[in-house]
Point group: D2
């Protein structure tokens, strides 16, 4: 078997503009279980979009973009349906930026011999294949970008902004990119564990070869910047896809405002879509009600949906897209809070 | 709090004819994970419907009809999209027949004090409420029907047929009913654990008060009849919603044909939609590949979908409905295999 | 590959007498999450055992005995730690009785080609292998036993009692058997979906070849008999391993006593060990609090444990075994409620 | 209700030295499903401990220490059963360090009104309660420590080392601490998302008040340091409790050695204990076989265990503790690879 035999059919991103999920979710609204939960979440999302005082933060965890959800998020950005993003590194770098610089994910299978894949330098994400050699190019592109940045502590937001500028400069626009759309639309993207992905490989390479003067990634600055956002706006709504660090980090900013003596209200709206279970006490499955005990999430408009994102997220966003509340919603431009030299304005 | 305060808003059944899920599932087709699995399952279902030699058996487990999926199944029956059903008792008796005789399920909440519900005689299914007094009427209606049947062993299919006849006779057609639609369309319904539901209460009451001569439910006859069907048809496809006894029972008929010396091919097509996990070795989460080792399911056209039925089943069936393959598909009339006096023809 | 190459290493049943789990569970008692839940469940089980007015019903679902838990249940029976059992058919017939007549389950693997297994007539349960030819012998043994029984409706309890008598008569005692232990100790075993297992194959063969006069399995009689037990005793405690029909059936008897005008209290004690989740509304994952709304389970002494039975059940029973409350507990002899001719006394 | 009424009974950490889990796991060894998996994992752990060329990295995610597992890890450190730790921040700071400076977690309940908890300033982790005011003291202690550190980029390892030194200096040894044990035994602890916890609050406070010169947390340095460790040792074994960033980060170092041109072998041994499922494609549930396709984990000695840590981890470690292979195992002293001034030696 040749490598190319396994990398033939690329994953295609779903386009939520090609179907109107509103009648589907309307059908769910008076049912039970997760269908009804999805309908409630849809109402909350539409309510967030209509609330002029509310900025919307989307948190992303799980292999979402390799699975075909990239354009869903790109459409949210392009249509002012989200104002800030907090994500795992894999989604933003290994998946989004990776495709932006010309590579693809491939339809694969979980019923395969991983030793064979190893020999072919094919990486597997459940039923999806990636060319490992292409991932190495992605790593090195990050190293190359880091080499151009001033040798000082950066937030992940700054580096991701630089990645957007790189795409602009190189004219790499063949494939839609969340990093690029966010760059253009002033939507800041934070990756609180930025070294835990392809960026980590690129940056460790950068630091290794620039021992004396190099970029560092200050994750405290990320937290400080996201807290700045919370302090700068009136209300916030959060849409959490999966759990992990992005979920916790984003909820925590409410507490951070208090610690800095600038107490702000809890997140006014909250939706979480997850397959995780609360019974092991892990954060990813912890409920929004639990988050209220911590003073992070208000309980008036909150909804958990238990389910897998590839099926459910396109329905949620398609509904909101076709509902069209976003048409009257101004660009959030939260990136504008930060000066070019990356200091908090 | 009064009982009626909690029983205000009835669950409404989703109507898969009001939206066309094809573009949604087309969008899923080149993604990954469960979205892609759903698209593969959709293709298999459409293939089953187009296969003139194939009869389709639907297995049902979980609180599906109380959750608003009743009309999905009724539409499958009315449009020749399914030929036989194997179900848990709760779905067919406590939920379908219960609504047919005039009662409803109500939108409730899981965040409630169950002791208060107990005192109000409200039964809870996760986020759904039921009037327990109405359930008792349902039990007694089954007892009343049993009183009219000959005092001999019956298959569950026979009693459910009698329940359909009862609805016809009483003119109880206000609300659509799967039991009634199946009765009219010649779709046999089997409930292999028939005493494990409202029917069990009615029948135990019947036997208790008719000590000398009463209806008995011969679950072996159920198995024999379903095996008869397998022997009478060329190929079979199975759609399994949830696991449990209906799943196992239906898969087992292939083996039963062999034991009776009339060996038939494995189920040619198989789809399972479940939230259960295979890692505890339980049957509900066991894979279709595992079923192949038992000689029950062929592997050419099989697909598991990991997800919750309220969201996913309407998409699957809406796609097939709008695809319209069923328009050229004749009525299966598997009920016609059985004589009126309930003996195998 | 030869069949015997895959059937070399038999599953061995864990012996809870060889270790004392009390210090382990004592360590869990002041922790959190499932460890603490297990400690609470342990206290409830010991409380049940000490309550002279309480009869204990064990419900079993999942492939528990093929996985090595058979002796755990046999020890419960032999030491008066359980008074009645409600189970799936596979556990009692395909797994327990199957081993009693001389066969074994084998350590296998889930990473295997099921088509190869199919060709070798090896059946797979996740990571366990079974010789399909031996299963066919088990089926035919049930047919043979059925041939000796009077041609009338039987409860599953009666047939399982006859299976115990068969083992006694044939001197098949090489391997410990729950069916046999229960036969000797007067512990009735009910299988509400008795045709959904190897017994179904045997009985369908029996009925097919004895068209005019044959055994039938009246699942209503099962329900009636279990209700008789509930009416005959003062209090009941239930230990549920997995969910499914055994769980629901056993909880339902409380309601059945009410329907027969002999209302009895809810189950006083309840423990459930399950991996199922409540969020899909399925019965297997439904909470004991939900069961209270139905009037089935009292909330004073109830505990759910989220976890897999092979690891957890041995700990729970080992603790109770070594605690030794059972030493003063009389034999329940619930089987004595039923006359030899299988009528309710 | 007063706050103190809900904060009465502290969580007590299980002591794996007080029971010998070896006979329990021996009983699991020839069973099936997760019991057998646990026995295989135990064999792999003992094999790691006996392998003189192998350093052992433990990754931690989930609310493990608030749940009573702190002493399990402390015993691993104190007895040379682990050489490095990669964790979420909550475990190390909010839970371990928090208890080290004199606070406790309390036995609570998930059946509680979170709005009431909010008003009482009690934070909830499923069934566990925390005094929010005490957490704020923990945050400020981190700020205080940061104030004493040189204003330059630090790895999380360096700050955690400083936290150990703080405990030493202040004589805070009333309660055993993993941070302190690791400090004494030369076991480096990495928290790749260090700002995503109480430390984040403390550090954001520190930076806010020391605008001109402050500590930054360079997560790339964390990655570089962990990669240094991988390059310095011959073989590695990993024990992963939960998934998340610690899992991915630790697996990734193999690839990082390759990127730095110092290619090292894959992790030779790997165990993962998780409740996550692979079917949503998320990293936490991704299998070790999948990790092999990425060139991260060798397949010769790897085992997944599906289950919850509070019950299973104590069994695994108690077995290894009593097996005693660690008695001949030298202290790993991986912390010695790093100079006092926090530069890679």
């Amino acid at each position: 078997m040749e490598k190319q035999d396994l990398l033939r059919k690329p994953v295609e991103h779903i386009d939520i503009k090609t179907f109107d999920a509103r009648p589907v979710i309307n059908g769910y609204a008076s049912m039970a279980f997760q269908a009804r939960n999805l309908a409630v979440a849809r109402d909350i999302y539409n309510r967030m979009l209509a609330d002029r005082d509310c900025k919307i933060i989307l948190t992303l965890a799980g292999s979402l973009f390799s699975a075909g959800l990239k354009h869903v998020v790109a459409d949210m950005i392009d249509n002012n349906m989200v104002d800030g993003i907090v994500s795992t590194g894999a989604i933003i770098v290994d998946q989004d930026f990776f495709e932006a610089i010309g590579f693809r994910h491939y339809i694969g299978s979980q019923f395969v011999d991983d030793v064979v894949l190893r020999e072919l330098a094919i990486d597997r994400i459940y039923d999806t294949f990636i060319d490992e050699d292409e991932l190495r190019i992605c790593d090195m592109t990050i190293a190359e970008i880091a080499d151009t940045l001033p040798p000082r502590p950066h937030s992940s937001r700054e580096v991701i902004h630089a990645m957007g500028a790189y795409l602009e400069e190189k004219g790499l626009k063949a494939e839609r990119s969340v990093v690029y759309s966010a760059y253009k639309k002033g939507v800041p993207i934070f990756v609180p564990a930025f070294s835990d992905c392809s960026a980590g490989f690129g940056l460790v390479y950068h630091q290794w070869h620039k021992k004396d003067a190099h970029v560092t990634i200050d994750s405290v600055r990320d937290f400080r910047e996201l807290t700045e956002i919370k302090m700068a706006v009136r209300d916030t709504g959060i849409i959490m896809v999966g759990g992990g660090v992005p979920k916790n980090f984003t909820q925590d900013v409410v507490v951070a405002t208090e610690i800095l003596g600038k107490e702000k209200p809890m997140h006014k709206y909250a939706i979480q879509l997850t397959v995780a279970d609360e019974r092991d006490g892990g954060l990813s499955g912890s409920t929004l009600k639990e988050a209220c005990s911590w003073g992070k999430v208000d309980l008036k408009y909150e909804q958990m949906i238990f389910g897998e994102a590839t099926i459910i997220l396109p329905l949620l966003v398609s509904d909101a897209y076709h509902q069209g509340v976003w048409k009257k919603r101004p660009q959030g431009n939260l990136a504008g809070l930060f000066k070019n030299d990356s200091e908090i304005a």
